[in-house]
Symmetry: C2
Subunit: 349 residues, 2 copies
């Protein structure tokens, strides 16, 4: 592993994650490399489908760096997709325009689970590693690069359900009818994810984030058993770089996440910042949490909401972000306004 | 208004709502009159579309009573749809098979809002009133009849967005860009809803429930301004019967709902029962909150989860229900098991 961190020109993200002093809060946005940028759409257009785009390291690196140049964020996040893991395990998917991911075959039986492979990050996902290496080279130590993976439960949801869903009732059905199959699958996803994240770190990422996008469909008790347990394994296994866990909608799990071996916890805009800090034992750096819809407002309204958010963090160490990914129809100028306002309002006096 | 309540053979629901002594907890299920019952599907089949079905009082009454006869629930809830209000205000919708509601025209400007009428419950929604009267007659005072409406914010979501959505980002956009248009529309929906619920009470319903299905997309601050404020108006206006407010996903609003002029608060399965009771100042009867997916489990598993739920309520007065509507592929025998287990486990010693 090459430790490039000490050479970073802007290491605000890493210092904030480790609760070291910073001049101001670092800021980046989930889905910053994406459809909001015309420059991204110009690259995206060249590919007949999304998955092919993800698998082209040069282009993935290009769109990863765009928001650093265009928006002025304090970190890049490697452009990829959480569903590359199921695919590397042997479960192919398609990305259907305007509908989202679709798995022609889903996991239903223990035999289905056993046919899946535990993937090796370096070989099975070499295109991601290649994209990371190119990005690191081209970023030239300007800002840190974030690696990521979906939380095992979120990947499980797609692998059973076969597509997005408001309730993920098919996936959840398995938790009630065949918990042993669910656990065997979750363990296999977890082992694959650890290998994948370790490979990302070797390739050069400076921090990793685990996205549990569908955490909110579970009860607190089920969340402990079917999600947090596996996130814990990931956090315990990754010791090389700081870790962020973002469990969307899992307000009920904050109390338990206090004990998670991670530096940063992501919040959505439903969660009260000070209350969350307390539930997390005042031990974590927080990340978030402006409502992405706030960026539809006027510049002065964005400025006011950003100020309010910064004030709500108060003395809690934080990384400014949205409470969810950017919505595709957001005006890039509004995104820039949010970024600039964070930089202005969060300066330490 | 005819007060039939004193003649009810089973008034457990109303006593629980008013925190009066009960022998055991009352139980009913959201979406109990629906696709899980073959008897419902037999009636549904006769109609080319869902809205025509809703507008046929004899058939609406028939499916309203089915779960009382077939499942043994302690209350009926009038079979209807929350979107009858936008329609009565002048905004037509369609129900698209497997996709949900769709509004060919949506509300975008202040002129659009001003073209809408404040509906009169008795005349504009006479088909619902007729269905209530037939149901009351045929129920013959066996159990109470619940009336309902969508919360103004939830109706607003559909009227702006035009269909279901995971984020309702178009509807929320208006809250940030044109809050004054949003408030004018919300007030018009609220006035219509109050008239509608008052008409339902005159027609014979014994309790009303307000469903805020999309509460969870808002931040706590926006929820106060754009949702709770209007629910409060409804609760203050309805004095004739007990009121239940169910704001799905609005865990962050429980503290404020303490001051709402309603007897019952619905909980989803993410919310901790005892914590919610405390946040609500121990002043409300609670309703809920089993995960609908729990009914996919075996009979013994359903029994165990139901027992756990009843124990979690402890001394808190409650009405047993799910934390969300029944999912359509639930086995009616499993639903019966839940109902029977509530009746068994909740007997007061």
């Amino acid at each position: 592993m090459i430790n490039t961190e000490t050479k970073l020109q802007n290491d605000l993200l890493l210092r904030a994650a480790r609760q070291q002093p910073t001049e101001r809060a670092p800021v980046w946005l989930m889905r910053q490399a994406g459809r909001i940028l015309p420059e991204y759409r110009a690259v995206r257009e060249k590919f007949p489908n999304f998955i092919e785009f993800v698998k082209t390291p040069e282009r993935a690196a290009e769109v990863t760096i765009q928001p650093v140049d265009i928006l002025g964020v304090d970190a890049a996040i490697i452009f990829s997709d959480i569903l590359v893991i199921p695919e590397a395990m042997g479960l192919a998917y398609e990305m259907v325009e305007k509908r989202g991911p679709y798995f022609p075959k889903t996991i239903q039986t223990i035999e289905d689970v056993r046919k899946l492979r535990v993937c090796d990050g370096v070989d099975d996902l070499s295109y991601v590693m290649e994209a990371i290496k190119i990005t690191k080279k081209e970023l030239n130590n300007r800002v840190p690069l974030i690696g990521f993976a979906g939380a095992p439960f979120t990947l499980f949801c797609y692998m059973i359900e076969g597509s997005g869903s408001k309730t993920f009732s098919k996936a959840k059905k398995m938790l009630y009818t065949s918990p042993e199959i669910a656990h065997e699958l979750l363990q296999k996803i977890t082992d694959s994810t650890i290998a994948y994240l370790k490979a990302q770190i070797v390739a050069g990422v400076d921090l990793i984030q685990v996205f549990d996008s569908w955490a909110g469909v579970l009860s607190a008790v089920q969340y402990e058993e079917f999600s947090l347990k596996y996130i814990q394994q990931i956090c315990d296994a990754i010791t090389e770089v700081p870790k962020t866990v973002f469990a969307k909608g899992a307000f009920f799990a904050l109390k338990s996440m206090k004990n998670l071996n991670c530096e940063v916890v992501g919040l959505d805009w439903n969660m009260d910042i000070q209350e969350s800090a307390t539930l997390l034992g005042n031990k974590k750096t927080l990340q978030g949490n402006l409502d992405p819809c706030a960026l539809y407002g006027s510049f002065s309204s964005i400025s006011a909401y950003t100020k309010l958010m910064v004030e709500e963090f108060g003395d809690v160490p934080f990384i400014a972000n949205l409470g969810h990914g950017l919505y595709p129809d957001t005006d890039p100028e509004k995104v820039k306004c949010f970024i600039e306002m964070v930089k202005e309002f969060s300066v330490k006096k």
